[in-house]
């Protein structure tokens, strides 16, 4: 993890260089991200997966689930930021992504709010 953060710092300076830019051009057309950055992200993803699996096998139950709930979003963020290039995109793409997440969070929130008032059995009453 620490490694990939250091790399992130380097890569971010690359962004600062190319991305003066709120005004203009597709950032993807600028100097491509060094391939070794992707390899480091991949190593981090494998390690995090191993951690999740080890936690679920070694500490079944709350600890295993808790680790998965913390580590899985971190893995998702690594894929989004580096593999999907979101880190280097213009703010509008980040805003779009956040909006989609907010919509999902609202739908989830409303569902659970509704569910919590259904009483015994919830949506499973008829099953």
């Amino acid at each position: 993890m620490h490694d990939s953060h250091t790399t992130a710092g380097h890569a971010a300076s690359g962004h600062g260089h190319g991305g003066h830019g709120h005004g203009g051009h597709g950032d993807a057309k600028h100097a491509p991200v060094p391939q070794r950055v992707f390899i480091l992200v991949w190593v981090a993803l494998l390690v995090l997966t191993a951690v999740t699996v080890a936690a679920s096998v070694g500490f079944p139950g709350r600890v295993g689930i808790g680790v998965a709930m913390i580590v899985t979003p971190i893995k998702a963020a690594l894929i989004l930021m580096w593999f999907m290039h979101l880190k280097y995109e213009k703010p509008v793409f980040k805003f779009m992504f956040l909006s989609a997440m907010v919509v999902l969070a609202i739908v989830m929130g409303l569902t659970f709010f509704d569910y919590s008032f259904l009483g015994e059995g919830g949506y499973g009453r008829s099953i």
Partner: protein, 211 residues
């Protein structure tokens, strides 16, 4: 966004109307619909897991953890090779780009083969939507398996579609239609492929690591 403001003079010379930013925006919007599609299924999963906690745990014991984790490594690696393919084409290394793309295709194939054996084993035990054993299970366990087949099945279809798109893109790189100057199609295929990977890393703890 006008094409004139693009840094690449080559395209201006061809008087080609092209809006990379627009294409990329479109691709991301499509990906959001995918997120909401799978998100809906995750909500169903969460609600029923809350209702049938014990049954979900019992049912999850039957799933093959080794296969699930192996497939995670396969898919994460395929995401790496995909991004290496895009990076190579940006550097105009066409041969390397094609090689990484076909490796990605091979890993996707590998994922589906493992999935095939996994599903076959379940089918053999009558655990299959509409199967006898699945019907005779306590309702919570039956739900777990129906959700498992629904979600991994939908994900599998996405993998299959990804493979078709990769083959088409590889052919168009070979013919020079997709190249170091216009690699959008490869880049967006990559975005789609990473989303498929992203969905899987959430499926892993929900189904395989639930005990």
């Amino acid at each position: 966004m006008s094409a004139v403001s693009k840094p690449m003079e080559a395209q201006a010379a061809h008087h080609e109307h092209r809006d990379d930013e627009g294409s990329k925006t479109g691709m991301w919007l499509f990906l959001f619909t995918e997120v909401l599609l799978f998100g809906g299924l995750f909500i169903i999963y969460a609600v029923y897991r809350h209702r049938f906690g014990t049954e979900f745990h019992e049912a999850a014991h039957e799933l093959n953890k080794v296969m699930g984790v192996t497939n995670t490594f396969v898919l994460l690696t395929s995401s790496l090779t995909m991004v290496l393919s895009v990076g190579a084409l940006q550097r105009r290394q066409v041969a390397a780009s094609l090689r990484w793309l076909w490796v990605t295709f091979g890993l996707a194939c590998c994922f589906l083969v493992i999935k095939f054996f996994e599903w076959s084993a379940k089918h053999h035990h009558g655990i299959w939507p509409g199967g006898e054993h699945l019907h005779s299970m306590p309702s919570g366990e039956g739900l777990f398996y129906n959700l498992y087949f629904m979600m991994t099945g939908l994900h599998g279809i996405h993998v299959l579609i990804g493979m078709v798109v990769m083959a088409v893109v590889a052919a168009r790189i070979s013919s020079g239609h997709i190249n170091g100057d216009r690699f959008g199609a490869l880049e967006y295929t990559g975005l789609y492929w990473h989303l498929v990977d992203l969905v899987w890393i959430f499926l892993l703890p929900l189904f395989y690591l639930t005990n």
